[in-house]
Symmetry: C2
Subunit: 211 residues, 2 copies
């Protein structure tokens, strides 16, 4: 499968590396084609990997993962352009956090509660099929559920069943055996809304290996 992973941070890095290790073709997308973190990732990672602009990476892929800072998700969608991802599964793992007020961050008011980053991403890319998933946990756990012992869950939601099936296929490759389907994409209001709790649990637990 051909994946584009948009975002060069820890989340994008972790997802792109895992997908490449599974034998997929992976292009890391960034604002510029020569983003130094994307270049370094492609150089150090085995497999059919590369780096490009957000739009060119998305254009080359069957499935496009948004792994950018949640506050930037609409900017990146604009850079990608709706035509580039029309008919494609777009997997959104972002959270719309406002870092301007210090730690722990709150949600960006205009992207939360009665709306969500996932829904706004879908509205900005109307021809794509957006699925929200993996945004309720630390990046290392996303691709390695056994880091946390015992039963625990990953959630997904979206308005297109085929895109949810495609996402379940990817999740299964990551080791998630039975994702919880919360229904329509508007359920992203619930999962993105977990983040303020998650961040406080992180402070209480002292590490990110919980779910």
């Amino acid at each position: 499968m051909k994946y584009a992973v948009l975002g060069t941070g820890m989340v994008g890095h972790t997802l792109a590396t895992k997908l490449a290790s599974l034998g997929h073709e992976v292009r890391m997308g960034a604002r510029t084609a020569d983003n130094e973190k994307a270049v370094a990732w492609a150089q150090e990672t085995d497999g059919d990997v590369g780096h490009d602009t957000f739009s060119a990476a998305a254009d080359s892929a069957d499935r496009v993962i948004f792994a950018v800072n949640g506050a930037r998700v609409l900017d990146v969608a604009e850079a990608v352009g709706p035509a580039t991802v029309a008919g494609k599964t777009v997997i959104d793992v972002t959270n719309p956090l406002d870092m301007s007020g210090g730690m722990p961050p709150s949600l960006i008011p205009e992207m939360s509660n009665t709306t969500s980053a996932g829904e706004q991403l879908q509205a900005s890319l109307p021809g794509a099929q957006v699925v929200k998933t993996l945004n309720t946990m630390n990046h290392l756990l996303m691709v390695d559920p056994e880091r946390v012992p015992g039963p625990h869950d990953v959630f997904l939601c979206g308005d297109d069943e085929a895109a949810k099936d495609a996402t379940r296929e990817m999740l299964a490759e990551f080791g998630w055996t039975d994702p919880v389907d919360l229904g329509p994409l508007s359920a992203a209001r619930g999962t993105e809304g977990l983040m303020p709790f998650w961040l406080r649990m992180w402070g209480t637990v002292g590490n990110a290996d919980f779910n």
Copy 2:
């Protein structure tokens, strides 16, 4: 111990009944002293129980539980009056849900995200020591943790350690062996923010016996 339980809905009813069964003196508070649900509860419940106005019930008690509709928490605080609860532990189990948009409800914007019902209740009752707890689950589970098998958690947060100790004592009587302390009352932003997720899980699971 003398408890006031403010609120005559399912949550107030469940908490008041459990506290009475544990041998505590319980007054159910409502807008009027002769609220028919409070009267009926007092008639059908064994023990040292009664009903009164919000303010008179709170005045009679050592510990005051806010179990009203979250949208009404500040109205009820005003009816109680700050002097009535000065120096007392106020246990807030509410969630600031906006029911006006249908199901599932969202949070009330001006009571969530960068603030919380718990913090606003504390601000309106500055002499009281507010602790937020039990707001992350169904009312039956609040007083009967064994309804859900296996390990699961209750959370509390607040700015006063003695009030948190008093709350832990009540939680232990309900069967909660090791509450997770999320720190200051501002952590209520996290636990109240769980509700939009909880409501969708409820829809997915099909019953409220999860945590």
